[in-house]
């Protein structure tokens, strides 16, 4: 197999048990005979080395009469183009318009570093000067991770505990705004009294005359709240999901049996919220839904992505966050084995791990499981078990639970796979949440400060000692996947990103007319929270 792309070099090294510095890989890839260069570099490396360094390669290249690197065939390195049309914010790299006429499309105009394949005569030594580009990411700090701390045993009381915890924490967010009156004491206030209460939505019904009856529940009981259809707030009823926490204020009816609602409050993100940023220029790639093992997994596109990470341009991309569905899994749907490229679940993870090794070894990787992964489906989902971690250990990624909050250079990223998005999209009116604009569904979750409020529907819940699905602290970035559609935007200054996928349209998606956004990598500037999207289609 020809080794002219960095990712292939990495793969070849990985097969021999080596990780490699990015620079070293580039050197090998660009030598005139990468195979030879690779072999001799390994020769040069000491017996006990695990990482092939630039020095090893140079040593090898100098020792052996390796021909000068010649121009790399452009056909094998398709241009990672920037999707200028859809970038959220104007970033430096968005200036890099995709120009097919360019000889060397892989290098963006913003980075004046070496251009080895432009000039066949360039001595590789010249690149010595750019060694400063090596990544030095800080290991991200993870919060809300329940991996290895699942204490639930499936008892009734634990379920109650979860919902009580949800109520306690989310009502806490609302208490500053309303003066909560317990459900069992409202009736005693007498007709006509002004009343405010906070509760989980227990039921939503429309009355015969078209008004909305919303039943709220707190720890003392339930109380019916009537939202008149001609009020502005009636529209908000469309947004409500069961079991989310809201506050209402209104007037008690004459018989004190019902509250006429004047206002509905959500825990929400304050409009004044100001996100934190990194104090240096550093970037993170936010991806999800790799689906290795599926016949539709786009290995080539992934290779291009990994290649690009090896380029100078991607030098500041020091973090890779993966929001679930590393592999296609087994038994996710009936007769799935007939559509799998890799039938063995462990082989799927092995292969995923191989693909992950193509990513530069000096990046920090954080991943959470998704609904295709080999962990329980009920949320919160703990991170992979020891056996699977063992398979993916080469890159030493941080494997945490779904959901989890990851602090990357001071920027807090809430990572959640996104199963509840299906439900939000199904329940809410199209303009508020749709598959074409998945980030709008994410706004709803931010507004409700809960990643999967509705119990009993599509989302599965495993009781734990607390409700891990509550969004306690407002994150700076909210990152989900699952729906295979790309979408992002800012909600009260919080960046919501749904990354696309690395799996081409499946037969099932075709049948329900879902056109997935494949092989996109949203790249986030952690110092500005500006984002652009790179395409590797």
């Amino acid at each position: 197999m020809p080794l002219e792309t960095s990712s292939r070099v990495v793969q070849a090294l990985a097969r021999r048990g080596y990780n490699a510095e990015r620079e070293a890989v580039t050197l090998i890839a660009e030598s005139s005979s990468p195979e030879l260069a690779l072999e001799s570099a390994i020769e040069a490396a000491p017996e006990d080395a695990l990482v092939l360094t630039t020095d090893h390669v140079r040593e090898a290249l100098e020792a052996e009469p390796v021909p000068d690197p010649k121009q790399v065939d452009g056909a094998n390195r398709s241009p990672p183009s920037t999707d200028t049309g859809s970038t959220a914010t104007d970033t430096a790299s968005s200036a890099t318009t995709d120009d097919p006429a360019r000889e060397d499309p892989s290098v963006s105009s913003g980075t004046p570093a070496r251009e080895p394949h432009q000039d066949a005569e360039t001595d590789p030594d010249e690149t010595k000067g750019t060694g400063a580009g090596a990544r030095s990411p800080n290991p991200p700090v993870v919060a809300n991770d329940m991996t290895g701390a699942s204490t639930g045993t499936g008892a009734y009381d634990e379920f109650v505990g979860v919902f009580r915890d949800r109520y306690e924490r989310l009502s806490g967010q609302l208490r500053g705004r309303v003066n909560h009156r317990p459900a069992d004491s409202i009736e005693a206030m007498g007709g006509g009294a002004d009343v405010e209460l906070i509760g989980l939505v227990n039921d939503i019904r429309s009355t015969a005359s078209g008004h909305w009856l919303v039943e709220l529940e707190d720890t003392t009981g339930t109380f019916p709240c009537l939202v008149m259809k001609d009020r502005d707030i009636a529209d908000l009823v469309d947004e409500l999901l069961m079991d989310e926490c809201i506050a209402v204020s209104g007037t008690l009816a004459d018989d004190a049996g019902i509250v006429f609602v004047d206002a509905i409050h959500f825990p929400d993100v304050p409009r004044t919220y100001r996100p934190s940023t990194a104090d240096r220029h550093v970037q993170a790639a936010l991806i999800s839904d790799v689906h290795v093992g599926s016949q539709e997994f786009l290995a080539d596109a992934w290779g291009r992505f990994a290649d690009w990470l090896h380029t100078e341009e991607a030098e500041t991309v020091e973090y890779l966050l993966i929001a679930g569905d590393m592999v296609e899994g087994v038994g996710v749907y009936p007769n799935q084995d007939e559509e799998l490229d890799i039938v063995d679940i462990y082989d799927q993870y092995e292969t995923f791990s191989e693909h992950l090794k193509e990513v530069p070894g000096d990046m920090e990787i954080v991943m959470i499981p998704g609904n295709h992964d080999a962990v329980r489906l009920a949320e919160p989902q703990p991170g992979f078990d020891e056996e699977l971690r063992g398979i993916m250990s080469a890159h030493d990624p941080q494997i945490v639970s779904n959901p989890a909050v990851v602090d990357v250079e001071g920027v807090s990223v809430l990572m959640y796979h996104g199963v509840s998005l299906d439900e939000v999209i199904a329940e809410l009116p199209e303009e508020k949440a749709s598959y074409d604009e998945p980030h709008k569904a994410m706004y709803q979750l931010l507004k409700k400060r809960h990643v999967a409020p509705q119990f009993g529907g599509k989302t599965r819940v495993a009781p734990e000692e607390r409700d891990y699905l509550v969004i306690d602290e407002v994150p700076d970035v909210f990152h989900t996947g699952h729906v295979h559609k790309l979408g992002w935007g800012k909600y009260h200054n919080v960046l919501a990103v749904n990354s696309g996928c690395w799996q081409a349209q499946t037969d099932f998606q075709k049948s329900v007319n879902i056109d997935p956004d494949v092989a996109h990598a949203p790249i986030l500037d952690l110092d500005t929270l500006d984002m652009m999207v790179r395409k590797f289609v």
């Binding site: 639930g152 379920f159 919902f163 529940e217 038994g331 063995d344 119990f455 599965r460 495993a462």
Partner: protein, 1182 residues
């Protein structure tokens, strides 16, 4: 009709009249909701249609039209009558259309099924966007029972009526069209459709449909797009509509087209495009060119469906290199369930060998199996057990036939034997090491006709061989008369002598399964035999694995020692091996032609054998049929759950047992046994007293339901259709009202009136509340008698007993545990050969309405008869009717046969009893109830019980409430008016030689249909009630185990272990595949489903039973403060986990399956185990 038949029917009707007379006298006393018998007698289909619909005048008009035209045409003709008002008394246009549509469906379903009343909710007239009117037909789920053709025609009838009334066509909005497409897909996913139109097809139909198809929501799943449409009430799938559109219009388009052509007012030009498939704009021309036919066949779509099965014949190159075989079909293995074993993998050697023929208890979706086989498969098969089968149909009821070959087994000592005696089978079955062959499997020709399945190659059997022999010049009659010759099982000398004398193939008894061994094995066997020696009358050959296995595959019986195989009766085998009696091998391998060597890739030695021997050796078992167990057979009384003795409401007072005695003693705040309950308000016409009882407590007159408008107090009367509307407020008025019942008084006075004490029954059970529209309670006295005699009531007041249906056309008095005298009393005079009936063991042709009760049913009917007699005497003060002292007294009594989803009962007459747990009756009797015998079950009721106790007033006021209730009874069966499936049954004594030969070519059944008489050939003739001959006898219709092991084994685990144990034993079964499928189709769905259910479950209050969608934040029940509990517990989630993993590993299942289980196991651990407090297990240290 022959006088004999006329006498038979008259006899039945005379007894019916007697019963009516008594029942009328009872009813007239006014103690029941109505003063008349509520099951009218229908003498023909027209009567049934009218009675089911309740539209007067329909029957007369139907009879008029019936002589002149087909039923479909009559349905269309009736539309004019409805529109003009000459039939039916409908004022509104919607009413007229509704009447016409219902009548059409009733006509096409012969007035038996409930579809016309339950499947069509209403017809409405709505407005198009341009302000014109259109009609909307509102279907409901039970339309399913009408079948595709009637569904499709109901649409046509609706449209025709619309056109006649001058109403505009429906113009579907775009979102409605899209909605149809999405909904059909959703319904198919949720419930499944026989035929699922593509989205483009659905949209095409929706766009052109001249009337709107609408319906009730059926499923739980909602559509995701196209919700909340203005003209569609629901976001759920509308099941009835989906059925009509997909299985009606889309599937039966050619049939409708035939009728649209006859109507000037109705023009559906788009049907042609639908039939041709040219609705997709893109491939318009292509399809046109391909298939420009006039579409007069309705097979267009059906063909596509069964394509897979029929491709077998197509791959025939110039010179065949292998035998003609039907393609194996896996379908029957789908959804394999734990505990229901597989008997043979598709077409696998060692499985059942297909034999053509109809036994006397056979035909109409049944499969004949040797009783010894039933025992050998560990009793999993019994008479009436349903099996899912590879071909020709999908399923069949098992019947015992002992005139076919039994199984061949290898015992633990190595002996290979065929077992033709059930007693021997029971004796040896514990010592069976491998079941080499399951024996023969009898399927009648009609089954292939009914399923339109190409014939498959026939086994070489006696009835074919003897025709070959006769054709070769033998005098068959002389041979048959010769007592020294056994044509079934001749001795070897005789068999070889015939081969010498006549140019006919070797007798099947000595024809071995050469097609199951390879040419190499044949060669090796010949060598081994040549090297063997003859000791006495045994051939002794060296015991090697190859030779032993070859003999086993050939089904050659032998015994073995460690180093020798001993074969008795070996001379025909030697001949077929090409050896002389002196064990000299007369051929060389090189003598074989290339064709013989290469036949079926060398895996089939039948060509080689035929080259070696100088006579013909036919294929012994070319067609093997795979199958597995479906449902077990059934014979048990139908009890509601909890059981009910009387339909009297006692709220919660009777506890979970609903005990009336307990309720009467229970003290409420109103007093002992006093409570308020919603029951129907009635008024006494004589004294004006108001009561809930049918009989006035003051003056004993019969009371009538009393309707008073809640708003204005106006007293209203029901209209013709039974609806009650307040003339002033125009709102519906109902009779039920809250009454205070003093049960303590009611109960004890009922006991006093019946002169019974509480000790005469164990418990008397009532109901919580009434679900009928008028909420009429039943007198407690009826319950007292039921409880005393140990019978319970169904929702309609009748006592029922369920049995699996099986057909039988000839019986012996002896096997029915009755005497020939009984038979003669019932009007039977001769046996099937026309000889006078003298002996108990003579075979007699069964009359169409005679039924055989299972022992359990007979016992239950005796109890019912006692109950009815006591009811007549002590409640109505009349003479008893049955006076049954012993079981024989039931012979000659009338019963009702009644199938689920239908609304018409069929009168039957008891002629005897069987120990099999099934209801044997004439196939036409079952077909009159619209049942076939593939494991279907239905019930019998005692005639007088139905007449006295059935009332429409008890039927639940909800969709489907009128199903399974005897709204009408057929007193005599007209063979032309039954499910025509039964007409395809063959009724001959022998299939001709040409038939067997045609089967080898896999001919279509139509090609040989003329050779074999079917039931349909005698329809409308004098012979329509007689002459149901059979090709195979069986010594008893109840052989083999009485109950399937499935019913006698205890837990699911026991059943599954037995299933897998059997899989290991059967040569034709791959036990790994069975294990794999049990896990895949049973355990995994259960585990996954329960785990999913666990994580989104409801909770329930332990005290008051209140359910909550989510756990209340209070923790306790919000209603009563009681303790709450989960509805899905850990135990129910992981009950199969360990066993599934064990089975997967023990039976070598695929890694994929094991991994799925392991992942699930970890998920279970993750959900149910505390990481910080784990029980140490070995897995933790590995």
């Amino acid at each position: 009709m022959r006088p004999d038949d006329e006498r038979y029917f008259t006899r039945i009707e005379d007894r019916l009249d007697e019963a009516f007379e008594r029942a009328e006298a009872a009813k007239a006393q006014g103690k029941d909701p109505e003063t008349e018998i509520e099951i009218p007698v229908a003498r023909d289909m027209a009567d049934r249609v009218e009675n089911i619909l309740g539209i007067p005048g329909v029957a007369e008009r139907v009879r008029e039209l019936e002589g002149e035209m087909s039923r479909e045409e009559a349905a269309l003709e009736l539309v004019t009558d409805f529109v003009e008002g000459t039939v039916g008394d409908f004022d509104s246009r919607a009413g007229k259309i509704e009447g016409a549509v219902r009548t059409a469906v009733a006509l096409l379903t012969e007035g038996v099924v409930a579809a016309p009343i339950e499947g069509i909710d209403r017809v409405e007239i709505l407005e198009n966007d341009d302000g014109t009117e259109f009609i909307n037909v509102y279907y409901a789920g039970p339309i399913r029972s009408a079948g595709g053709t009637a569904q499709a025609l109901s649409v046509l009838v609706g449209d025709y009526a619309r056109a006649l009334l001058g109403i505009e066509e429906y113009r579907a909005r775009d979102d409605e069209i899209e909605r149809y497409a999405e909904e059909i897909g959703l319904y198919d996913k949720e419930t499944g459709l026989q035929y699922t139109p593509k989205d483009t097809e659905t949209k095409f139909i929706a766009e052109h449909m001249p009337i709107m198809l609408d319906g009730e929501a059926t499923g739980d799943e909602e559509v995701s797009g196209f919700r909340d449409l203005e003209r569609v009430d629901t976001n759920n799938a509308r099941g009835g509509m989906c059925l009509v559109l997909a299985e009606g219009i889309a599937l039966k388009a050619p049939k409708i087209q035939r009728y649209t052509r006859q109507l000037d007012e109705v023009d559906w030009p788009w049907l042609q495009d639908l039939i041709d498939g040219t609705y997709d704009d893109t491939d318009d021309e292509e399809a046109d060119a391909e298939d420009g036919g006039d579409g007069s066949e309705d097979e267009t779509h059906e063909d596509a469906e069964i394509e897979g099965e029929e491709s077998a014949e197509q791959e025939e190159p110039d010179a065949p290199t292998g035998p003609t075989r039907a393609d194996p079909s896996q379908k029957f293995l789908r959804d394999l369930i734990a505990g229901r074993p597989v008997f043979g993998h598709p077409s696998e050697a060692g499985g059942f060998r297909l034999r053509y023929g109809r036994a006397r208890n056979h035909g109409f979706a049944t499969a004949g199996v040797h009783p010894a086989t039933m025992h050998i498969v560990d009793d999993f098969l019994a008479t009436g057990t349903q099996i899912k089968t590879e071909r020709p149909g999908k399923a069949g009821g098992v019947i015992p036939v002992d005139s076919i070959d039994g199984p061949t087994v290898r015992l633990a000592n190595g002996d290979v034997r065929r077992i033709d005696d059930p007693a021997e089978a029971k004796e040896v079955r514990n010592g069976v090491e491998e079941v080499l062959d399951l024996g023969e499997y009898l399927v009648n020709f009609g089954e292939f006709v009914e399923n339109n399945h190409p014939l498959v190659p026939a086994s070489y059997v006696r009835e074919w061989w003897e025709q070959d022999l006769a054709a070769a010049g033998a005098d068959l009659q002389a041979l048959e008369d010769d007592l020294t010759t056994d044509l079934d099982d001749p001795d070897a000398e005789q068999a070889l002598a015939w081969v010498e004398e006549f140019d006919a193939p070797l007798h099947p008894a000595y024809t071995y399964c050469w097609h199951d061994i390879s040419v190499d094995e044949y060669d090796a066997l010949a060598d081994a035999a040549a090297a063997g020696e003859v000791t006495g009358d045994l051939l002794v050959v060296e015991h090697t694995d190859t030779v032993r296995r070859a003999l086993e595959k050939l089904l050659v019986e032998h015994t073995q020692t460690e180093d020798a195989l001993r074969i008795p009766d070996f001379r025909p085998l030697l001949r077929q091996l090409g050896l002389t009696d002196g064990l000299r091998r007369e051929w060389e391998r090189a003598d074989l032609s290339a064709e013989a060597e290469e036949w079926d890739g060398g895996d089939n030695a039948v060509r080689a054998v035929n080259e070696v021997v100088d006579f013909e050796v036919r294929e012994r078992a070319p067609t093997r049929i795979g199958n597995r167990m479906g449902r077990p057979e059934k014979s048990e009384s139908r009890d509601l759950s909890p059981a009910v003795h009387t339909l009297f409401p006692i709220t919660e007072l009777g506890g979970s047992q609903r005990s009336i005695g307990e309720a009467a003693r229970n003290r409420t705040d109103k007093g002992k046994g006093v409570y308020d309950v919603l029951v129907g308000e009635r008024e006494c016409p004589d004294c004006g007293e108001h009561t809930f009882k049918p009989q006035c407590p003051a003056c004993a007159a019969h009371t009538e339901p009393y309707y008073e408008c809640d708003e204005c107090g106006t007293v209203c009367e029901p209209d013709e259709s039974g609806r009650v509307e307040c003339p002033r407020c125009e709102r519906e008025v109902e009779s039920p009202d809250w009454h205070t019942i003093d049960l303590n008084d009611e109960y004890w006075s009922a006991l006093e009136r019946t002169d019974e004490r509480e000790a005469s029954f164990e418990i008397l059970k009532g109901v919580k509340g009434l679900s009928s529209s008028d909420k009429t309670p039943e007198p407690i006295e009826k319950g007292v008698f039921r409880a005393k005699h140990g019978v319970t009531s169904f929702k309609d007041g009748t006592v029922r007993y369920d049995m699996t249906d099986l057909p039988v056309t000839s019986v012996r008095p002896e096997e029915l545990d009755v005497t020939v005298d009984h038979f003669r009393e019932l009007g039977y005079e001769t046996d099937i050969d026309g000889e006078p009936l003298i002996h108990d063991d003579q075979l007699v042709e069964l009359k169409v309405q005679d039924v055989v009760l299972s022992d359990g049913a007979a016992e239950h009917m005796m109890k019912t008869a006692d109950f009815v007699d006591e009811l007549l005497e002590d409640f109505y003060g009349l003479d008893p009717f049955y006076e049954v002292n012993e079981r024989d007294d039931l012979v000659g009594e009338l019963v009702f046969g009644m199938a689920p989803h239908t609304s018409a009962a069929v009168v039957g007459r008891v002629i005897g009893f069987t120990s099999a747990a099934v209801g044997y009756a004439h196939p036409y009797f079952h077909a009159a109830k619209r049942r076939n015998c593939d494991g279907d079950e239905d019930c019998v009721m005692l005639l007088m019980d139905g007449l006295l106790n059935f009332s429409k007033s008890f039927l639940p006021d909800k969709r489907g409430g009128q199903m399974d209730a005897p709204l009408v009874m057929s007193s005599r069966i007209d063979p032309s008016e039954i499910d025509d499936e039964a007409h395809n049954m063959d009724i001959v004594r022998q299939y001709p030689r040409e038939f067997y030969e045609a089967s080898l070519e896999m001919a279509d059944p139509e090609e040989v249909e003329d050779l074999i008489q079917l039931g349909e050939d005698t329809l409308g003739t004098d012979d329509e009630y007689r002459g149901f001959d059979h090709t195979h006898d069986t010594s008893d219709i109840a052989l083999g185990p009485d109950l399937s092991a499935y019913k006698t084994l205890g837990s699911m685990m026991d059943k599954m272990d037995a299933q897998l144990e059997l899989a290991r034993k059967l040569r034709a079964v791959d036990e790994t595949d069975v294990a794999e499928r049990v896990i895949e189709y049973h355990f995994l769905p259960d585990l996954i489903g329960n785990l999913r259910a666990f994580s989104r479950q409801e909770t329930r209050c332990l005290d008051c039973g209140e359910k909550y969608r989510r756990m209340p934040l209070t923790g306790d029940c919000r209603e009563c403060g009681g303790d709450m509990t989960l509805t899905v517990h850990r135990g129910s989630v992981n009950k199969y986990m360990d066993v599934a993993l064990r089975v997967a590993k023990e039976f070598g299942c695929r890694e994929y399956t094991i991994q799925r289980l392991e992942i699930l196991e970890r998920s279970l651990e993750s959900v149910f185990e505390n990481d910080k407090n784990k029980q140490g297990s070995i897995a933790d240290f590995m």
